[in-house]
Amino acid sequence: MKISLVHAAGWLVAYLALAVAPMVVAYAGPVPAPRGFWVEFSVGLGFVGLAMMALQFVLTGRFRSVAASVGLDSMLQLHRQLGLAAFFFILAHPLILFVTEPAYLAFLDPRVNLPRAVALSLVMAGLVLLIATTLWRQPMRLSYEWWRSVHGLLALMVTFIGVVHVLQVGHYVSTFWKQVLWVVITGGALMLLVNTRIIKPLRMIRKPWRVAEVRVERGDAWTLVLAPAGHAGLRFAPGQFVWLTLGESPFTAQQHPFSISSSAERPARVHLTVRALGDFSARVGETLPGTTAFIEGPYGAFTPDPQPSRGITFVVGGVGITPVMSMLRTFRDRGDRRPLRLVYGNPSLERALFYDELAELERQLDLQVVHVVESPPAGWDGETGRVTPALLDRFLPDDPRAHEYFVCGPEPMMDAVEPHLRQRGVPLTDIYSERFHIV
């Protein structure tokens, strides 16, 4: 995605203000006499950790205005990182208290106050479970659907018990308006979850889709061709993605993000090309034509300028080709003649999605396709190995700054390509990138 640095800085300041605001508000007005540094520090971490937990619901709220300036994949990456920070802040809150003032251990003593001890133990266990299931979802063999349901519920439980704890302790939050503020924060987090998990699916019910065709593609991949059922279809920009739900109801945790691979000029036929990478995607090929589908979106800022002012170099690995296919097909339908280069890496030629159509697009567009194959077939005279900076250098324009760059593929490729483009003088704002392991 292309980032807007000004917008990103604006969101940074807004986040910082919102995360620290509840702590500042807590200290406003008449407050009890100060305690030692460690107690105050620990209490501050508790306030801020809880505010950050509530803000986590904003980061996953899929707001188009926010996602448009920094990209939804970056939002989710930030959600993951700040979630970890919130976890450590909240965890540090009791630990610092217990170490510096052991009298606080009474908070966990069921003989002193049973409901409080149970609730606080539950919230700590819930928090550890929340983080553990996220960091180690795959080694723990948890299905994405199960994880997604549990993740939302655990997060809500932690936030709710956290706020109840703030109100019960009441050291800094004893006045009515401060209590109202915390109730509003919890209510807001709940509403955001309700919006993502209930209101958005309700809107999707009015615009169902039907699987018109399931095409087998090269190398364990399929294209689902979706046709609108009783509506005009989906307006999107090439390179965007949608969240897909298959089945009669949109009220399911089984919602997965997939890039659109079809032309933006054909809103009544949306193609989603899926490679068998996870538990859901491996079963996509079994989908029967006629199956009802729901799509939420479009999302994403991995989209080219509609005006053909400059050329584009695409650096793509594997299934990362799908958003680029949408762009190429759109350029073809629009008669766009901007210069295009595609460096496309795959483990083998059999895995190179859209191989034949790319050859056709080379004739229809001002496009040069460079296939890079790790295990080439006999007689292959093209590029071999991986997409490395050295290889890329041979296909960059004479002045690398003359092009915009769209990079999409596996992490190691992106980690090698993005800094290399920067070294070659390409401004950060001319590098659009999208990572497909966003969840």
């Binding site: 910082l16 100060p34 105050e40 520090f41 930030l78 990138s433």
Partner: protein
């Protein structure tokens, strides 16, 4: 700086900034 790295640093910088602000406020409050 690549975007991934930028976001990673962005999140880290944000977390550290928050931690420092909490420490500063606590220090001011404890010392007040």
């Amino acid at each position: 700086m690549m975007l991934h790295e930028f976001i990673r640093r962005f999140g880290t910088a944000l977390s550290i900034a928050i931690l420092l602000m909490v420490a500063l406020i606590a220090w001011l409050r404890a010392g007040a």
